[in-house]
């Protein structure tokens, strides 16, 4: 390997090339997105038998199907014959997927069930081996569905580590203990690297400055107080304001936590935010609004309206985030300065419950993400064979 990954992440700084080098992006796809657990869908998006959602695991287009009774299949959206995608819609309900090109037809379990004029194939033609490609491991926690392109490796539980309890807590503010999402998504894009959004998902330091046009002094107090903390939670990033209170049913920010579950899931307030890297300098963000079944309509409507006002491409908060990601990407084109600082609070970190913690405006949670990034990027390349 020509890239010396270990030299790009220092204790106190990261190298600009991790945001700008297309070769590093390619390696991220292979070593991170095509290996570790990637968040795909919430079960409430595919509630009924036959419901599906199409999305991506890195560069793989996938179909996430609710086959029956909670059984989820995640298939590669690519006909085994000539490669066309077999499912075009983002959401729908179907038990079969048919390629329009030559009409090869698959069940939503992936099984090949129809090949027109099959007599042209020889005796060794095996339908059973020509099902849609299958994502080898799929697992769900509290309705959050993840997939891993690696047949072997850490379990989802091991991957989530302490953040599993945060997923629980995120759901437990609902009276039934279950959350669901409103229909539809906020979809945003920016010309910048995907990791800029990850860092920003757990960055109390920026809020009072970048978002001063929106947040009141009262709201900002939570970020400026000393009792909250930032956490390296098994390589995921957490900002914890629970000293003020648990996650709030009204979705306002005073209380609860933000968590970035590496590499593509961000939970905060009313949001399930999914980060989709397109190229080294292009990223898409798809965000659900969470509804709490069993609470009064007015409260759910308040959650929806507040998130619409603040987030999405016209959001009074998020438009400024999207803008600053592009400013960063432009600045990082300069090789005159090679390093970005992630050193805040480095000298005052402490262990709490086994996790490295810092104070509210420190960067322990960012260092967590880069610790995880480095570990995955430096693992042995996979020897697993594709179909």
């Amino acid at each position: 390997m020509s890239l010396d990954i270990s030299s790009l992440i220092r204790k106190d700084a990261v190298h600009r090339s991790i945001y700008t080098d297309p070769e590093i992006f390619d390696l991220e796809m292979e070593q991170i997105f095509h290996r570790t657990w990637v968040y795909l869908a919430h079960i409430s998006e595919i509630r009924e038998d036959g419901d599906y959602k199409t999305t991506f695991i890195g560069r793989h287009p996938v179909i996430v199907s609710h086959v029956a009774d909670g059984q989820i299949s995640v298939l590669i959206n690519r006909c085994r014959h000539r490669g066309a995608t077999v499912c075009q819609d983002e959401f729908g309900n179907s038990r079969v997927f048919r390629c329009v090109y030559h009409s090869w037809t698959y069940a939503n379990t992936g099984k090949l069930i129809g090949v027109p004029h099959p007599q042209a194939y020889g005796e060794d033609f095996s339908r059973s081996e020509l099902g849609l490609g299958r994502v080898p491991r799929v697992a769900m926690h509290r309705g959050f569905i993840f997939g891993s392109m690696a047949a072997h490796g850490p379990t989802l539980d091991e991957h989530l580590g302490g953040t599993k309890k945060l997923l629980d807590e995120f759901c437990e503010i609902s009276p039934s203990g279950e959350i669901e999402v409103f229909r539809g998504l906020q979809k945003c894009a920016y010309n910048g690297n995907w990791k800029l959004q990850l860092e920003n998902g757990v960055d109390p330091y920026h809020v009072e400055f970048l978002h001063r046009s929106t947040f009141t002094r009262e709201t900002l107090k939570i970020y400026n107080q000393s009792r909250g903390k930032v956490i390296d939670m098994d390589g995921h990033g957490v900002t914890d304001h629970r000293d003020i209170g648990p996650p709030r049913r009204d979705g306002l920010p005073n209380g609860g936590f933000n968590v970035v579950i590496f590499p593509n899931l961000i939970l905060l307030r009313t949001q399930i935010r999914t980060v989709r890297p397109i190229s080294v300098n292009r990223t898409e963000i798809y965000t659900n609004v969470v509804r709490l079944p069993g609470v009064e309509d007015q409260l759910n409507k308040f959650r929806l309206r507040t998130q619409e006002f603040e987030f999405g491409p016209c959001g009074v908060v998020f438009a400024d985030d999207l803008d600053v990601f592009e400013r960063a990407q432009r600045g990082l084109q300069s090789s005159a300065v090679e390093w970005l600082l992630v050193s805040r609070g480095l000298d005052r970190e402490r262990l709490e419950n086994g996790y490295l913690c810092g104070e509210m405006m420190d960067e322990t949670q960012h260092r967590a993400l880069y610790r995880k990034w480095k570990g995955l990027m430096m693992q042995q390349p996979s020897k697993e064979n594709a179909a």
Partner: protein, 160 residues
């Protein structure tokens, strides 16, 4: 009849021009106190209480948006985008003889926006519900059906 049509068409053009010229307080004055400013996400016909929208503002939200844009701290609009809006295909449904006080106006908008040297084109089918509020018509609801409302969109920090 013709005069009514001209007055309403003039309001639709004025609304576009006030946004183009950044005259946001005057823009707010075109709306009723109970106005809604709506940009659906995903599709033109959604239930905004069941489905996420790009924008679903009450009059109060619109005022907050304008105040933010004028605050000097709306960094995505620093410097402000420059925009041209073309309003076309105007269809006006006048109130019925039995004295209905609102009417619907349909338009197609082409929005050309230059934001920090990035050029974007958006098109939308818009629906205005207008109410006669002596001595003028005011906008009770503005619905903007963006063609790209199901696509990942780069920041649109200006009013649409």
């Amino acid at each position: 009849m013709i005069q009514d049509f001209r007055a309403i068409e003039g309001l639709l053009y004025l609304e576009a021009r006030l946004l183009d010229e950044g005259r946001l307080d005057e823009w707010l004055d075109l709306f009723t106190a109970d106005a809604v400013y709506w940009i659906p996400a995903g599709d033109y016909n959604i239930d905004p209480n069941e489905h996420v929208s790009i924008v679903y503002d009450t009059r109060r939200d619109m005022e907050r948006r304008v105040a933010r844009l004028k605050s000097g701290y709306a960094f995505a609009e620093d410097p402000p985008s420059r925009t041209h809006r073309m309003i076309s295909n105007v269809e006006i449904q006048l109130p019925t003889a039995d004295g209905g006080s609102t009417l619907t106006a349909l338009t197609v908008m082409a929005l050309f926006a230059l934001t920090k040297h990035k050029y974007a084109i958006h098109s939308a089918r818009c629906e205005f519900i207008l109410r006669y509020d002596e001595p003028t018509w005011k906008i009770e609801r503005k619905k903007v059906g963006l063609l790209r409302n199901d696509e990942p969109l780069e920041a649109m920090p200006y009013l649409i």
